[in-house]
């Protein structure tokens, strides 16, 4: 079963330490990187301060008290529409733990983020890509 996504509007919410910890951990696991290639907490916090939305993925069988996220995606929506009056959803970063890669998570993510965006309608999605699948 694909994970479920929780969407945070970063214009209205402050980044929590738990989110930063989770993102740092997912980054290393998802890309298979050693600790010395870690994304520092300061840089993660800085990134979260400059985006429109943060999406965090959770698997449904985790205990509810302290669920660790298994994926993240960072999005920015420019304030100006891109043609035909629709907005661009720009994917600044995305990563999933290896255990949930190829689980169909991006499909669910797309539905969650386009529904929650304050900028409507979303008519475009983009990003600077290195890989073609998650």
């Amino acid at each position: 079963m694909p994970p479920t996504w929780q969407i945070h509007d970063m214009a209205r919410e402050r980044a929590q330490e738990a989110w930063i910890d989770d993102i740092g951990s997912i980054f290393l696991d998802g890309f298979g990187l050693p600790e010395e290639r870690a994304w520092s907490a300061d840089r993660i916090a800085h990134a979260l301060g400059n985006i429109s939305y943060l999406a965090l993925a959770y698997t449904t069988d985790e205990p509810s008290e302290r669920r660790a996220a298994c994926g993240y995606a960072l999005y920015t929506v420019p304030p100006v529409p891109l043609g035909n009056g629709t907005y661009l959803l720009w994917e600044d970063a995305i990563c999933l733990r290896k255990s949930v890669q190829r689980s169909g998570a991006p499909r669910e993510l797309f539905a969650a983020i386009t529904t929650r965006s304050r900028h409507q309608p979303i008519g475009w999605i983009g990003g600077g890509l290195k890989t073609l699948v998650l």
Binding site: T76, P106, I122, I125, K130, L132, V133
Partner: protein, 114 residues
């Protein structure tokens, strides 16, 4: 990307950035998207959208590239000289098909897992 390209018309693969529509999209990205704006002009191919050498660390991690249903894109990237080990990225913008613009949720269910 394999998922998103099912949702619409993907620049630069379905159409590159040298067409009138493509140029308009790239102009928008250069003006409005920080990640694209910060790519030096000398590193950005304005036809195929490849930003060359923008990741100083080169290839990031161990993600797979031999992926089902993306061989056509991989072939195109090879033709364009895309090099992950050099730290290249490709700027992709997908214009969503009309049925996905206003009511994406129910329609997502009809798409096969990507």
């Amino acid at each position: 990307m394999r998922t998103y390209r099912k949702f619409g018309h993907a620049f630069p693969f379905a159409e590159n950035y040298s067409t009138p529509d493509g140029q308009a999209v790239m102009s928008f990205l250069r003006a409005q998207v920080r990640e694209v704006r910060e790519v030096p002009s000398t590193s950005l191919d304005l036809t195929c959208g490849i930003a060359r050498g923008i990741y100083r660390q080169g290839r990031l991690g161990d993600y797979p590239v031999d992926i089902e249903n993306t061989s056509d894109i991989e072939q195109q990237l090879i033709v364009w000289g895309f090099d992950r080990d050099r730290g290249d990225a490709v700027i992709v913008a997908v214009r969503l098909y009309a049925q996905f613009v206003n009511a994406p949720n129910p329609l997502m269910r009809s798409i096969e897992p990507g």
